[in-house]
Each structure stands twice: as C-alpha cells, then as structure tokens.
Amino acid sequence: MSSETGIDSSRSGAKEREIYDVAIVGGGVVGCAIARRFVLEGAKVILLEKGVDILSGASKANSAILHTGFDAPAGSLELQCVQAGYKEYLEIFRNFNLPILKTSAYVVAWTEEQLARLPDIEKHAHQNNVTNVHLIDREALLKSEPHLSNTALGAVAVPGEYVIDPWSSPLGYLTQAVLNGAAVRFGYDVAGGQFDGDTWQLKSSTQESIHTKFIINCAGLYGDYLDQSLLGKSEFLIKPRKGQFIVYDKSASALLNAIILPVPTERTKGIVLTRTIFGNLLLGPTAEEQDDRSNTSVTQNELENLKIAAENMVPDLKNMPVTATYAGLRPASECKEYRVFEYQEKNWITAGAIRSTGLTSSLGLASHIFAQYSKMTKPHTPPENIKTPKMPNLAEHAPRDWTQPGYGEIVCHCEMVTKREIDNALSSVIPAHDLSGLKRRTRATMGSCQAFYCSARLAELTKNRLSHDLSIARNGDDNE
C-alpha cells in the first residue's frame, strides 16, 4: 500500500531530480532517531518506511523502559549507545514535552541461587559506571514494595531505570527531523537499488526511484534482507524473538512503585513487571524464537503462564482484570551485540539487530552512526534555527488534554481521549494513517473496554481519513 504524506517535499516541487545526502531505510525508533541526528547535523535526509506509519515493526511493542545499561555487556557498542541514549533523552525530553516516570528498578532474587548472583550484578553495574546500583535486603525491599510476595529474598536496586512513552519519543524525533527539513515517504518498500560509485538509485515496487548519496539501513527485522538484496551480502542473520505482554487494569499500577526485574539469564532480560507511562501495569515479555518476521500473535498458554508468574511475584494481581494483550518481535541476531557495519565503498552503514534496548539506545546510536558517517563524507553545515516540536502529553501523571477546556467531547472514555486530540493526531506533522497509529498518538481504544463504548464514534470520526476505514460500508450502501 502506498501513501503520500503532506510532508513529502519531493513530490510537490519541480520535477527536477532530487539527490539526498542520506536515505534512511526504516521508520522504527532507530531510523527516527538517526533521521533527527543527521538533520541536526545539516544533512539532507529522506526516511523511507514500507509501512503506512512509523513504528510498524519491532518498535511498536516494547516494555518502554529507559535503561541505564547496568546489565549490558561490558565494553559493548550496546552499552556505549544505551548510556549515550539515556543521557541524551534526559537532556532533551523536557524540550519535546516528552514524559518520564522516575520509577527506579529492583532486580529481585526469588531463589537462593539468584540471591547468590546479586553481588555480581552489582559489581557488573559498577564496572559499567552505573555507580548508584546497590544491594538491598529483603526487609528494605518489602518495605518499599509492600505488595511484592514475601517470598522475595533480596534485590539489587537500580535507581536510574525509568519508564518513558515508547511511541511519542520516536514520533518526536522524526517530527523534529521533518520540521527541520527531512522528507518522509510511507508505503515505500525498498526493493532494489543501484550504486554508481557516487549515488544510489533506490527502487520500490510501487513508487518512483529515490536518489541518494548514502544509505543507512535501519530495517530492523528485515535488516539482513536489505543488505542481502542491495549489497549482495549480509554479515548477520536476524532471528526474531517474540515477546508477549499483558497490560493490567489501571488500578493494578498502585501495586508497584519500581520496575521489578528478574535476575537475567544468558538469553533474555526475563519477565518484567512495570508501571507504564499510561498508568497501567505491564507484564512481560516472553522470549520465543520464531522464523516469522511479522507474526505477533499472542497465545493463551503463554499469557496464562505469564499471569501465574506475575501472581507469584505480586499476589494481589489475582483479582486484577486484564486490559490488553500484545506481542512484539525483537530483531535479535545470532549473537548478542548490535550489528553495525560500515561499507565505505558502497556509501552504506547498517544498524542491524538492535534487539532489546533500542528504545533507549537510539539517540546514542544515532550519534555513533553519524560519527562513523562523518569519517566517510564531506562535512555538512548544521542548520541555524532548530525547531523542536512540543509533543501532546499522553502520560497519565501529567495534565492531559481533557483537563483543558474546549476539547469538544471525550471520544474514548476509558483513556479520556478527546475529539481535539483525535483531530490533531489526524492532521499533525506526521499524521496517523491507521487505527494503530491513532492509538499510539492518542491512546484511543487502549483502555479497559477495548473499544466497546467508542468504536462507533471513532469509526465515524475517522471515516475516509485512514488507510483502512474502521467500517467497510455504510448501512444501505450497495456493496456486493
């Protein structure tokens, strides 16, 4: 499906061939952050996304934790980018009106064996320069988390782990890029391309060619495919790892203060319980290897297992209603590290396999990639007056649109989404193109009734304004 957006400058102007400095393939959080960084550094950027909206891949579903990097592999690129990303987020979030929930985290030991590993976790964190990480005993843990099961044995406290808005942040990054000159093309599936030693000519199956001097592969779950099809080789293999989640009712968020992390295993960070920025309690993710790169189905078995695990940790969750279930795919590869490759002779950088920390690391990774790029190209002149968007606040703990007069009506009652917010989301710099995009921009239908009360009104308000209408016809229309 191909779609034009109002922000696409290349279509409106003269027919003259436009040559971009950089084409970024993929509008996940990584692509969005990289687009922003390159625009701030003065590059002429186009972002190409095959979906109808940004965040169509791995980035649409994650735990939304802003990581400190306390447990990242020492000396890794991942650690470097997570810590740089963390730092930059803290520097910029206020200017973007983005939220942060300063929860802190506990890595909780539930067995003697896990308890014995806590000192190593603390030591590793200190080595990673996260110096405020410290051990706490069972009493202190239960005192600050009174709803936690008293079978907990002890914990490592990680005061710097926070929760952010997983959707408004990347949207904010790309909006800033667009406000300062970037072009974005949706429905653009990069299917082929030719490099003449100086310029790439990119092809999609449905739209005209794009000309660019440099390419950054941020294709997430398809990163290896893109390298394969345009460079003829890929040095890594994506091995998708599914993570299923359960979102509990808002009342459950009162059961915890901090993020509850498990003692990690080799393979995964494990099952987490955390408040969300939207005021719910999130449980997950599972870690399930699969070949399919798009199937994010949930399974009753795994969800029930998750619930049991959670109720063991927080017994009061037993009577809590489930609001939503979903799953995301981590773009993992055959090894643990990020897979960043530079191909100078091809004017190409691949930011591959940004598996389970990309929301945090994206800003740091963007600077890293720009530094690598600068070594290969002529310098750009950064723009003078940089515009920064103010993102609509979706966080539960800060005043939302419905507290301000003139909102028209509440459309989604569970999440208190106003008609004004819906209208804005459909006409913003990067507008919503489908229901998922609208949800991510407003929270509509994400609440406990899951659209029981509002789907009719929402279908009416969005009629002919989304790529797939929520209704297929009007009653009485003559359809087959």
């Binding site: 939503a324 419905w402 659209a451 009629k463």
Partner: protein, 411 residues
Amino acid sequence: MTMSDNHLQVDVAIIGAGPAGLAAATELRKRGIKSIIILERESEAGGIPRHCGHPPFGMREFYRVLTGPKYAARLVEQATNAGAKILTRHSVTCILPHGELEVATPNGMINIAAKRVLIATGVREKPRSARLVTGTRPQGITTTGALQSMIYLKGLIPFKRPVIVGTELVSFSAIMTAFKGGIKPVAMIEKNNRITARHPCELIASFKHVPIYFNTELETIVGTSKVEGVNVTHNGESRMIDCDGVIFTGNFTPEVSLARLSHLKIDPASGGLEIDQFARCSDPAYFAAGNILRPVETAGWSYREGRTVGALIADDLENNLPTNEPEIFCKCEAPIKLVVPQRIIPGQSGGFNKLQLRVTRAVKGKMIIEDDHGIIWQKNMSVIPERRILIPLSSLDLKEGTKILKFYFKE
C-alpha cells in the same frame, strides 16, 4: 443546587444516565428531593438501550413493547418531566470520600459535592484481550455492544461474514443487529452442549440460517490487517472457519473502571461494587444500582432497581436508614459465582428483599446457606449459568452476632 465557579453542591449526584440512573432520579424527584443531577459522559442520555435497536423493552414500565432507543427516550423524558437535571458530556473522572466528585466537561473541570452519590455505570461485554484469546490482532474484532452502536447509531458496517462467539441472550441480539446491517454471520460457536440463553432463542439462529456449533471453542484468530478466519476445536479436533470478523458476545463485566481507582470496595465475585441490602457501598455516601452490581440483568430489572435505590437514598436523606452495623458478610464458593448484596444488616426490613445469586456452570443438587453455627437454609435446585437465582431475605433466620454466611452447593 448551588454553583460557584467550578464547584457544585447538590443533594444527590447520579453517575450514569442509563435505565438505573434515570429511574432513581425519577423516584428521588417523586419523593421530593430537589437538587439532583445526572452526570452522563455520552452526548446523549439513555445508556445501553439507546443502541439496542430492537424490541422488547418497556413492557413492565410502560405497558407496551418498545425498541431500545424508544425505551431510552421514554426514560429520559420521564426523568426530565419529574424535574431531574441531566448533564451530558460530563465524565466523572474521580470518586473521593464523602460524595466528592471530579468531573470533566468540555468547558473545563468541575468539582461536585453531593450528600449522596448513586453509581449506575452499567455493564459491558468482556473484550477479546481480557479473554486471553490466541491469535493476531487484526481489524474486525468486536463485541455486540460496539456492533450495535456502529449499526444502530452510526449506520456503519465493520464486516460482512463474522463468527459469533457465545450463545447468551445478547448473542442473539448480535444476530438481529447483524442482519439489520446486511451482515450475515457464518456461525455461532458455543463451548457447552446447549445455548446459554433460554429456549426458544436458538430459533432466531435457525430462522436466520446461522448454524450453532456446540462443544466448540475458539482457538485462534487468523489474519494480518483484517480477520481472515478463526480456528475452532470441536471435541479435540481443530478446523478453520472462513470469516471476516469476530463478535465476542456476553461474558459481561460491570463497568467499574472508575470505582476501581477509588476508595470503594469491589466484590471480586460479582466484579461490581460491594453493597449492603440498602445498596450502600463501603462508603455510605455512595449507593449503587443497575448492572454495575452484577453481570447481567435486563434493562427492566435495572430500571426497577433504580427506582428502589432512589427511594432508599431518599429514606437516607430523611435519616430513615439503619446504621450499617452489625453486618454479616456473604461468601460464595464455586460453582456459585456471586451473591448480591454482599453485606446484610440483620433484623431489618426494607431495602433489597431478595439475595441475587448466579452459578458458573450447570449444576444440580442442593444449595446450602450456613452461618457460624450451621445450616440455616437449603433447597434442591437445578440451575445453569446466567440465570438469576433469588432467595428472599425473609426466609433466612439471621442471628445477631453472625459474621459470615457461607453459600455453597452440594451436587
């Protein structure tokens, strides 16, 4: 009613203008209570019947057969004529102790201080997510209520060939609603060996040529952007049904989202607000009526309950309700699903004169009620889910000092 800036003081604030809230307002006005407001978050009052575009509603209230929307309009008219004030697009966002409410309105936030508050926010169907159903999350998955609003209120059609999950009364409404929109359901699936609704509802399905598959469970929803089919299991065997939508019907749950975030107690068994036989919540400034109390009763029942509770609130304002002590707590054991009210003040007349019970599965045997000393009531019965069981309070010999009444079944 006095209003200053954004602060409103009233005798009674009613949250929700459905049958229960409207009936209570009518009753309160008849009893001479002057300042009553109904706070309704939708742009129109009337509650769920507004979008049940079919009969039969109103037989006992208005002695005629009405469609849902006509019935809703009659209730609104009745309450308005009685002098109740309905404020639409007023969403209660916070319930505080002693009758303090925070309300969002398109003109800004207001605070309301009410001597008494009635919570009448109704019931809704459990969505797919809360049922932990396996599969993808494409467009085309809905509930009866959402489908009714689409078709009856907006004339919009979300799919053409859906599968209907469940066979409660409302599931047959889903068939009627679908046909109204030119939608042809391909099947109804039911995990038990009989329909949950009363005979002869199944005739609606056969009349409309919608097959009912018994002993069949929904296994997986398939489809990327739109529903492409569902896998079902029948006696352990799996098969695919080709369809473009799924309607989850019934499996009702009281709409307590707001109350859950407050100081009021929720009964995990009913999923609704916990009350005593005078409909008082754990904070006696708050009352509850209608389907917020339990899944699920008819509109007519909710209406009558609203009238009853309206009268109780009037009694309370006139200081004619007993204090809420000592109390006996009702506790039920599976397969008994719920008991309402959950608290009984012994030795009192007035208020709800019957206990309402439900079971989770079909059972046959003896229903038993036991107090701290032994059995006080028993009766042989054969019941199935979603049927009301009523036990007159007067038939129970409640002794002073009893703390707990235990409800169980001997099969």
